[in-house]
């Protein structure tokens, strides 16, 4: 048996990007959640990014649905980014749009690129941690509820994983989070 994490990585990336690895040329953001990558031979692929639950925890029921979406659209492979978003790589724009609607039906917003809120992440907090002084996931949940529209609909002024002061001020007046 091979020790360590599963290797090589080429078994885990979508088969249609295997020839383009290391040969990418440009990318452009089509819409907040969809990015087009072009390689030197002109092959195009699209990456769809979706937000996740605040602490990245899913029930197996939901995870199986996500896995089925990866199998249906992106060649049975997907990736989780370091900022706990989900990314699916698909072959054409039609698939990307279809995947976007399916993800949104599941309840995961598609967005998080360019001048938008990029990600919302928390530690385990009271959920599993042995040392937590306060609970992080519920705070992020409320921030997500209040500012989720900046993930894909309304634009922030700059690329920001942190929140812009203006946005915070507007959010305060709009609806106050209901943290107990």
């Amino acid at each position: 048996m091979q020790e360590g994490p599963p290797r090589p990585y080429t078994n885990f990336i979508p088969s249609f990007i295997k020839d383009s690895v290391g040969k990418w040329r440009t990318h452009k953001i089509v819409e907040p959640g969809i990015v087009e990558h072009v390689d030197i031979n002109g092959n195009k692929i699209y990456t769809v990014r979706a937000g996740s639950t605040p602490n990245g925890r899913y029930s197996t029921e939901t995870m199986r649905k996500i896995s089925a979406l990866a199998r249906k659209y992106s060649g049975g492979s997907m990736r989780f980014t370091g900022a706990v978003n989900m990314e699916f790589i698909v072959k054409d724009m039609k698939d990307a749009i279809a995947l976007k609607t399916e993800l949104e039906d599941l309840g995961f917003p598609v967005g998080g690129w360019d001048g938008h809120l990029w990600s919302l992440t928390s530690c385990a907090g009271y959920f599993h941690c042995a040392l937590a002084a306060t609970d992080a996931p519920s705070i992020i949940q409320n921030i997500g509820n209040a500012l989720g529209k900046y993930f894909n609909k309304e634009e922030l002024r700059q690329n920001s994983q942190l929140l812009h002061p203006d946005v915070l001020a507007r959010a305060e007046t709009a609806s106050s989070p209901t943290f107990p």
Partner: protein, 394 residues
Amino acid sequence: MSNPPEEVVKGRKILDDLKKGDWPNFVKEAQKTRYPVDLYGASLALKRDLFTTGGYVSVPGAPTGILMRVTSRPDIGESANIVRVLIPSGNFVTSEMLDKLCDLADKYGVGMVHAISTGEDIEIPGIPKEKIRDFIAELRQNGYECGSTGDAFRAVTTCVGSALCEYSNLNTEEFRDKFYDMYNDFAKYPTFPHKVKVKVSGCPIDCGRATQKADIGIVGSWKGAPEVDEKLLKNLNNEEIDGIVNSCPTGAIKRNGSSISIKGEDCTQCMICVRKSKGAIMPGKEKQFLIYVGGKLRGKKGPLTGKLFARLNSPEEALDIINRIVEVYIEQAARKERIGDMLLRVGMKSFMDMMKEVPSSMNSKDLRTNVFYAVNEKDREEIPRKVSKAVGGD
């Protein structure tokens, strides 16, 4: 149970409140599983953490990868031990892997998957102590491995690298695969004074946080000026080119009419022009690879950024130097001292000197770490020369 405790009743109200809103909801997800949600609600009501570390468990073949948790209120909910599963390079996972992990989480855990943790591995929570052995056996039968806890190499994290990014100077996934080919024992068995985090970034934008959060960080880079593609530069309009020229922090970019020239020795590789140019400016052809040591966020002496340690011509040299860094670390560091803390204590200069010393069992303080290191006559000359060259010597 006839009447639930007061804090559980209060907690359920808070949880109902938390279930409102549009953002993907973690309470709703948790309620689809067998996770003790009442326990979480109670801790919200009490404003106090109800989990504590649950000691250690001995599982053959799994010295790292298990986090023990017990609850201080077993009357409300059961314990929730966690097993960390290492994922393939670049955080790519397949549907088969996810389905298999879901099956295992249903069979042994509470039917919950944590994908992914901030340490970039998948965690399966809620496995009872007596089932951990069977769980890990079945996990390893399917070709997956647990790890990334304790005083070992934590899960090596990378940016997406060559698999999806045009700026990448280093195939980060391939590098990570090679790293685990070489250092799996150090990743599996806790041998170090404290944890060692290795992070890999393909370019100086550093999406993998190799310079900030890694004890040993590897960054793909290049020598001299970035490459300018005149054909693509013609697609940019006047203001865009002006924007690129003005954005350079050291003024290395000069404009001559419709073309630009970049002075290599002034370039600090901030990548601003590369990002603004829509593909017209790309990282240079002649690559170099930078090793940073001593970055961390937590620890005795607070957050530290990594210090540039060596510039190398190939990623394979980086793999060799990591071996020497951890050898010096094991010999010199105090218990529970990260590499960054050790560097503050001994100083960078003497750390460099320690790196140049000839590796032999005679000059090691702790025989345990070096006694099996066989050095032949060729290596005896080669290794010190290589290392001293890499760290800037003659």
